[in-house]
């Protein structure tokens, strides 16, 4: 992404700023849909009918569209949790684990202080969710900052441990009297408010506000400048008196906290309880989205939306044409493959912006 930007002339036209990325995303989706159509044909489904169902289910009704927004919430937050440290050259593969820890910590607050009124309990859960995720990010960041272990490996390993902590707590201590694989429903005061009679909850505001904040901090503040300096050249940043190790530690913990908020939003806003495997890989999806968008806020929003459409539409495909839900991962994978393979745009589109 940086290479892409640096080769551009200084004066970037409106066209190249908005039309080129849009054309890129449009072509990506088209190619992925074509590939997936091949799969549908092989399995004996009519791709046109399937896609009509998929897009009808997501764009065709207010309810369907609201479900897309609901699906965006955790992914948006985990994508941010990857994008932020990537600005300083740190790779956070641990969004998944941080999300889990956030959910677990928020659940602890919801169960332990269930008699508190909502205006205390909810902020407490938000705080706990943030701290849970931040703790899970602190360990790898600390080890990295003292030069012990690279954060890529440790965050990945901590991802594996986190769901097992959830399992341990739910099965061992927190489960409801009737069912051993989930906690009791949270009290109403521990639920994030929902909007417009849909399942869209306050978590979307967390996501959008943090996304805007991320853009603002990176573009408009001294802090953002320092972070970009570290990302550009660590040695130079250090010589210029930027506290590199401290910044790395703080940025990584904040990122973990953001992913933790995603976990909090899922247990409090979406489920209203904790189940051991409450994430189908949101952390990894966030990693991919942030990577594919090159950490660009608008790109993150667009990619998150795209992935959410696929995930939500997949639910409908399962119901209407009877293919296993897991198959929708193929459409997701094809989209990712196409972006990763970076096919060049047709000449005409390029010519317009050159």
């Amino acid at each position: 992404m940086t290479q892409f930007v640096s080769t551009q002339p200084k004066k970037i036209s409106l066209q190249s700023k908005f039309l080129l990325p849009l054309a890129r995303y449009g072509l990506t989706i088209l190619l992925a849909l074509l590939l997936f159509a091949g799969i549908l044909i092989i399995t004996g489904k009519n791709p046109i009918v399937s896609y009509r169902d998929l897009f009808g289910a997501t764009f065709g009704s207010a309810y369907g569209f609201s479900e897309v927004i609901v699906a965006m919430i955790p992914i948006l937050l985990t994508a941010l949790a990857v994008a932020l440290p990537s600005r300083i050259g740190m790779i956070n593969v641990g969004g998944e684990g941080q999300l889990y820890l956030g959910g677990i910590a928020a659940t602890f607050a919801a169960l332990a202080f269930k008699d508190f009124p909502g205006w205390i309990l909810l902020p407490l859960m938000v705080l706990m969710g943030f701290l849970g995720g931040a703790l899970w990010a602190f360990l790898p960041a600390f080890f990295r900052s003292i030069g012990l272990v690279n954060e890529t490996i440790t965050t990945l390993l901590l991802n594996m441990i986190a769901p097992k902590i959830a399992g341990l707590l739910v099965f061992g201590f927190w489960h409801s009297p009737r069912e051993t694989n989930m906690t009791p429903n949270f009290v109403e005061a521990a639920r994030l408010p929902t909007f417009f009679g849909t399942r869209i909850h306050l978590g979307i505001v967390f996501g959008l506000v943090l996304l805007a904040l991320y853009w603002f901090v990176m573009k408009r503040t001294r802090w953002g400048l320092e972070m970009r300096a570290i990302g550009g050249n660590v040695q130079a940043a250090r010589r210029n008196g930027i506290p590199v190790a401290k910044t790395m530690l703080i940025v990584f913990c904040i990122s973990g906290g953001i992913a933790g908020l995603g976990g909090m939003a899922q247990v409090s806003g979406f489920y209203g309880l904790l189940i051991p495997n409450f994430s189908p890989g949101y952390g990894y999806m966030g990693f991919l989205i942030s990577w594919l968008a090159g950490g660009d806020p608008l790109g993150i929003l667009l990619m998150t939306f795209m992935v959410s459409v696929i995930l939500t539409g997949g639910n409908m495909l399962q119901i209407t044409i009877g293919i296993p839900y897991a198959v929708i991962n193929l459409l997701l994978a094809f989209t990712l493959f196409v972006v990763l393979a970076r096919p060049s745009l047709p000449k005409i589109l390029k010519g317009k912006t050159a």
Partner: protein, 305 residues
């Protein structure tokens, strides 16, 4: 606790550890060439489903094993296309392969859910003729189990005693230098991926055709990630991978033993052991350069002009 229970635990540990050792070996080979494949979980799933399906269709488990191994290699070629030819980021491409595996394996495996297979034939461990049947029947193993240690040694020999292995490790340490000494880094990375995929496919085949003898969505249950952890734990060395698998399988065995003897400890704690150990080992090495990761691991080789 009876001797029978103890031996039963030992036997099931060997069965569950075999697929893991194959997968770990495969990842050792690819990581030695500088490629980290986070999509190993997906590779295992697709291979397990394909192997299972082919076994049912042909009623020949050996063909199933072969199909699984070839499938593993094929999926790794797709991954290789992304990271070598298109120079995509390895972590991102690996995660994409993981999602690809979740989806494709569900699709391939769907017609075969709940179907019975003729599993890989098992042969008695030689020299157990005198032992009572109730003991010796625990030590009937299939061919893939008997072959896993020889194959580990073979991989070690290939990596450390052949020119090919030297070139492969050279690419993993410094692709530019390897290129300068007349090797083709892209080609070598592909070769490593094919060998790695083949081995992962063997592991997956053992899981679905010989061990569990069924297919279920997400049946690998994180084995791909355990294998990636074990590669680190064994310091990217095939022989040490055996030790890594023993530690992991030991944790599983311990868990079974506790269950047999009626001690109540959460299985979740024991499931964490391999990961916690791997992190501990990483911390103990603490940045020592000797025997640590291949220097180019995870980096994109941009080609040398």
């Amino acid at each position: 606790m009876s001797l029978l229970a103890l031996l039963g635990v030992l036997s099931s540990t060997i069965f569950s550890g075999t697929s893991l050792l194959y997968a770990t070996l495969g990842e050792v080979v690819t990581e030695r060439s500088g490629t980290v494949n986070l999509g190993l979980e997906g590779v295992l799933l697709i291979s397990a489903a394909t192997g299972y399906g082919v076994t049912i269709l042909t009623e020949n488990p050996f063909l199933g094993v072969l199909a699984a191994a070839l499938t593993g290699a094929l999926v790794n070629i797709v991954f290789g296309y992304l990271i070598v030819i298109r120079k995509a980021n390895q972590l991102a491409a690996g995660l994409a392969v993981m999602f690809f595996g979740y989806g494709l394996s569900a699709l391939i495996g769907k017609p075969f859910v709940g179907k019975m297979i003729s599993s890989l034939p098992r042969y008695m461990l030689p020299g157990l003729g005198e032992v009572p049947l109730r003991y010796s029947s625990l030590f009937k193993f299939d061919l893939l189990i008997y072959l896993v240690i020889p194959i580990t040694l073979l991989i070690w020999w290939l990596l450390y005693r052949t020119r090919w292995g030297l070139g492969l490790r050279a690419v993993g340490e410094n692709a530019e230098t390897a290129y300068a000494s007349g090797r083709n880094p892209g080609l070598i990375k592909f070769q490593a991926l094919i060998v790695g995929g083949f081995l992962a496919g063997l592991g997956a085949a053992h899981l679905s055709i010989a061990f569990t003898m069924n297919w279920a969505e997400y049946m690998t249950g994180g084995r791909g990630f355990i294998a990636i952890a074990l590669v680190i734990f064994s310091k990217w060395h095939p022989i040490r991978a055996i030790a890594g698998v023993i530690v992991f399988s030991g944790a599983v065995a311990f868990q079974l033993l506790l269950q047999v003897s009626g001690v109540n400890i959460s299985p979740f704690i024991l499931d964490m052991i391999p990961y916690v150990l791997t992190i501990a080992v990483l911390l103990i090495w603490g940045g020592t350069r000797k025997h640590s990761a291949p220097a180019m691991l995870g980096r994109v080789y941009q080609g040398t002009e």
